[in-house]
Amino acid sequence: MIDVSNISKTFSSGSRNVIVLSDISFTLEKGKILTIIGKSGSGKTTLLNCLGGLDIPDRGRINCFGIDINCLSEKKRNLFQRKKLGFIFQSGNLLSYLTVFENIVFPLVLNAYTRQNREKRVIELLEILGLELLAKAMPHELSGGQAQRVAFARAIAHSPEMLLADEPTASLDTQTGLNLIKLMCQVGRENNTTIIVSTHDTEIIKYADTTLHLMDGKIIGN
């Protein structure tokens, strides 16, 4: 379970402070899908970053699967991100000098999978996501939708407990974006992975168990 209690985050911008998150609290059961919707600047990315340990909130606590991630040392936070998290970003997710296969295998090596298990897992994911023919392709040879599917494959390769997706469909056309979300939800449910997706596309919320509506760093609807 993910338990977020009263988190706030302020950024300094020149001489003034900008409140990005204000007193955010929610809980999410394991295996559920949460969408965070809101306009640009509403705090969606910062909330995801806080959940993934990339940002530390100024106040409040975030407990992910029994771990208070704000209290983790840098080393333990790295380990938490490596083992329990998968990230998908809006674009530029892939390591440009690695092939599709090498990109997907990357987190598996970090998590010390054996060579045999790594290859088996990557082949399995390539099949599930329909990327078998692109295993040796370089990222610049992929379409936007293919690149995001590869990013998704890499994010779930090591079977993380939580997948954080920051506007994963923003650079895709509507249909490709919806297809990606459907795929994410299907695979996520099959693997009991908790998925948190930030978006400003209201179509996507149909696939979520819960939706948080953010505006100016505050939850205005749940």
């Binding site: 990315t45 910062t46 970053n49 993934g52 990339l54 940002d55 840098e74 080393k75 790295n78 380990l79 938490f80 991100q81 490596r82 083992k83 998290l85 990230f87 970003f89 530029g92 997710n93 892939l94 390591l95 440009s96 000098y97 690695l98 090498e102 990357f106 987190p107 090596v109 970090l110 010390a112 370089m138």
Partner: protein, 385 residues
Amino acid sequence: MNLIFWIKTALLFLVRSRRATAALGLMIFSAVGTLVFISAIAVGINDSMILNSTGLYSGHITGFHLSETMTRETLSVDGVSNVLQRFLIQGSLHYHAKDEMLTLIAVNPDQELKSTHLWKKIIKGRYIVDNKFEILISETTAKQFDIQPGGKVLFKSGASVYSFVVTGIFKTGIDRLDNKIAFCPASIISDLPAKWEGAVFLDPGIDISTIIASYAQKGLTTTDMKTWKELMPGLTQLIELNQISIGFVMVLVLGVVSFGIACAFAIFIINSIREYGVMKAMGVTPKETAMLIFSEVILMNLMASFAGTLAGLLAVVITSKTGIDLSKYTSHNQYFVVSGLIIPRLTAFSLFLPWVLSLAFCLFAAIWPTFIVIRQRTSDILRSI
């Protein structure tokens, strides 16, 4: 930490970022190649100075006041190519009404021709021949006597008087050889002195200290035998100065190159910093990030340095076949008195120092780009692009 994985990833990065790798590698390649060649030339210059200075007359080791029990064979140990026996006779040279006090050096002409290059400094006439009453005089003496080859002179030493025909006149440009010295065959001198002087010539690449050590075992002290380093401290200093200069050149060139590499690598990494941000979000630790960047720098350096060393080696092989003739620029220099031909030669110093320095500087150059990636928070990296 999976070292092999990070090295492999670094290799893939370099191979697949072909243009950037080639541009950066070219800087190292050209710097290392040039430095290998330049340092081989520096070694060649040192070799030439030693060869010129020792080969003209004195040899690598000079023996003083050696007793008659000490023979040429005694000094001909392993590593010695030749030992020249010389007898120094003090006396006066007479020509018509003129005379000059000088040292007549009685030598074995055939052996002298084998190992010394004094004959190359003969400006008139020819070298002396064994068993003939012939004398080789310096240009200074010839001018004083106003004598030419073919002229007859008398040499008086104590009760002995010898009549010689001047066969040649030499000029070395070195004061101690050009003044008050003449040469004649030892075979025609009936009363040779008991003590003699020896000029020991070594085989190429032989360490002079090992020969001195074996002479010490034969009871010869450092007052009896002196190396060229002791007899020519000026040359020793010049050689050391040459080595220091080339060291400075290497440090400066590679320092500038490494600064360029640091800047280029920093730009390269800033351009792809989002990828490092994505990796950090995946849980890649600062240590692993540093290992990746350092592996990239080290691998690129090793490959470029290897290619550069091969190129430098090739340049040395090509130029060493004919040598580089700098006679035009060395003709008035006493350390190039015989020849100004430089044969570039590779030593462990000239071969590996550019490589080692290049690697050291590149590791230093990798610190900055690594610092750029590590110090930035992942969220800032991902947010900024």
